[in-house]
Symmetry: C2
Subunit: 361 residues, 2 copies
């Protein structure tokens, strides 16, 4: 089947917009990340926020991943149901509702959680008590991104000793998300924090780094034990812009139909912010890359309309054309749909449930 | 129960982030829109894209709405299952997959569809043939928004006669979405288009206008028969900014927990772009209004993190605090969750499924 025939067949069988992944590319991406981790001698702990699929998590484990990373407890629950047994929840979990669920999860599988403040740490023993086993806790450290994480070595050491002092909690190490250009600074932070905790007789069993762009920094830092990459499984326009993926590495495209050509320089796709999302991918121009018409700009959105600016386009799409779009940020697009259409090259395979879609709690 | 107690109880029962609607406010909003339509002597055809709930659509019908508006066929299917019998799909439907489903839907309930081009019109008779009954089609006209819709009177007339000439199709009238400041221009377009089709013996049975901000223009245009408003059922920060709703009219808030205070001027909510979405609401500053801390700016997002800039805030939230957020754009937030938590004032009622969530096809 040609790509044109594939597009027609996907539209006929599933309708558009359709969120489509090429499993050949997915497998290649999984293998590449695993090989990078293997070469650096560190464990691979992919972040499942990108695919939200226990099936793909299983493919990652099968390829050699030590375990997985989740952002939300609800994601971890779905992954545990799907057979994952070693889960890092890279998030401050807080409150009675969360502790009850965390306790239940911990009684079923190996769970490590992150914390960046004493209020969160103080709540975690409740989950351990419910599970009747120790909960591993890593201290999240911020070395420049200004996201979550303690900002100083002193806070990191204090939080580590706090964790170690709590009944039911075990200090597991440090979780980092180094800015791509701050490997040296992050190493300095890690070394000082490690020296600091050793004064209290603690050792970091886990030192976890993260991010798809940081895959090219693997091996540059000492004493890192594992890496969390998410987006690399599918890639997107953000990864293209960062220079860490080529078009041939983009496993996911959104198939959309041109439903209107209201003016000569305008067109409308049947995919708006409820499909492609308003995520700018960190300030990219336009809302996605149309493979068939790279000069067409997805200029703005209504909820179910993508408004095309075709002024820079010589070859303009016609009403009824099906086009493939590489989205700005793939992780949020996957989260819009309950199922992904799966293909291999120009052949339809089937559908894959996004089992953890919308698991935001 | 106080609001503080309500927040704690919602967090305990449902966890955060929780998307919460106050049914008292919803009912008031529904009644107000119906009263405005009644006063203007036009029919109310609310757009269900905002709530995606057959239950709330039922409340709107019960209050006096003639029928409903949907954007996607999948929404219309859910609404028909939920008992709605008069549905306008305000969208160009195209392709074999859509025509099959449209035909089935038309065999069950009264359906009107919009079209803005001859390619779409040419496909529609297939759906009518499947249903074995005529399909009503309105011509979508653009009078300044540069969205969907024909841009000229000549195109509108040509499309109306095209529809009227097709077996199984019935020309039903005009669908407009007038810019709020272009009532006069829209009236002129409508008058000319109506005169134009009369030369071919056609009459517009339906003249439909749309938009929540246009509720204040109801009655200003002649010969309008019905109005489509969506957002008014819940309202949001965009409607606050447009001056068409007050805080007391905002029925939906997102309950979020402060999970980190990584720096004195920073905080982190457990709600990021996978809950509140990156929709800027047409260029609003920040990603939502925090009722308890209106000076706190939701400055940026990760997928599951909302990053707070607290520099302008004297009264800063603590870790563990639950806050309520009026989102920028409520329609896209509802679409992120499978269920809404329902309250009345400071009392929890239960949960309401977002039955048409993610029905983008």
């Amino acid at each position: 089947m040609s790509i044109e025939a594939l597009k027609s067949e996907v539209a006929r069988q599933f309708g558009t917009p359709a969120v489509v992944i090429d499993l050949d590319v997915v497998e290649r991406n999984i293998a590449r990340v695993q090989a990078l981790c293997d070469a650096a001698g560190i464990a691979n702990r992919p972040h499942i926020k990108t695919h939200k699929s226990p099936v793909i998590a299983g493919m990652q484990r099968e390829a050699g991943a030590r375990g997985i990373t989740c952002q939300k407890l609800g994601e971890a629950e779905i992954m545990a149901e799907g057979g994952q047994e070693d889960i890092l929840i890279a998030y401050n979990l807080l409150g009675e509702e969360k502790m009850g669920r965390l306790g239940k999860l911990l009684s079923q599988v190996t769970v490590t959680v992150a914390a960046d403040n004493p209020v969160v740490v103080a709540g975690l023993p409740h989950a351990a008590a419910i599970a009747g086993r120790d909960l591993e806790v890593v201290v999240e450290c911020d070395t420049g991104r200004k996201r979550a994480g303690v900002e100083t070595v002193a806070e990191a050491v204090a939080l580590a000793t706090d964790i170690a002092s709590r009944p039911g909690l075990s200090f597991a190490g440090f979780m980092l998300y180094p800015p791509e250009d701050a490997t040296v600074e992050t190493q300095a932070f890690l070394d000082k924090a490690t020296a600091g905790i050793r004064e209290f007789g603690l050792e970091p069993r886990i030192v976890s780094t993260g991010g798809t762009p940081n895959l090219r920094n693997l091996g540059k830092m000492r004493n890192v034990t594992e890496h969390r990459a998410g987006t690399s499984v599918f890639n997107d326009r953000m990864m293209l812009a960062a220079g860490v993926a080529g078009l041939e590495d983009c496993a996911l495209t959104v198939y959309a139909t041109v439903v209107s050509r209201a003016g000569p320089e305008r067109g409308i796709l049947d995919s708006g912010s409820k499909t492609l999302t308003s995520d700018t991918g960190g300030g990219l121009d336009g809302h996605g890359l149309i493979l068939e018409h790279p000069q067409a700009r997805i200029a703005r959105f209504a909820e179910e309309h993508g408004f095309l600016d075709l002024s820079a386009c010589n070859d303009r799409p016609n009403i009824g054309d099906v086009v493939r779009i590489v989205p700005n940020h793939v992780c949020v697009v996957v989260n819009m749909v309950d199922r992904l259409v799966t293909v291999r090259g120009d052949r339809i395979v089937g559908e894959l449930p996004v089992a953890a879609r919308g698991r935001l709690i």
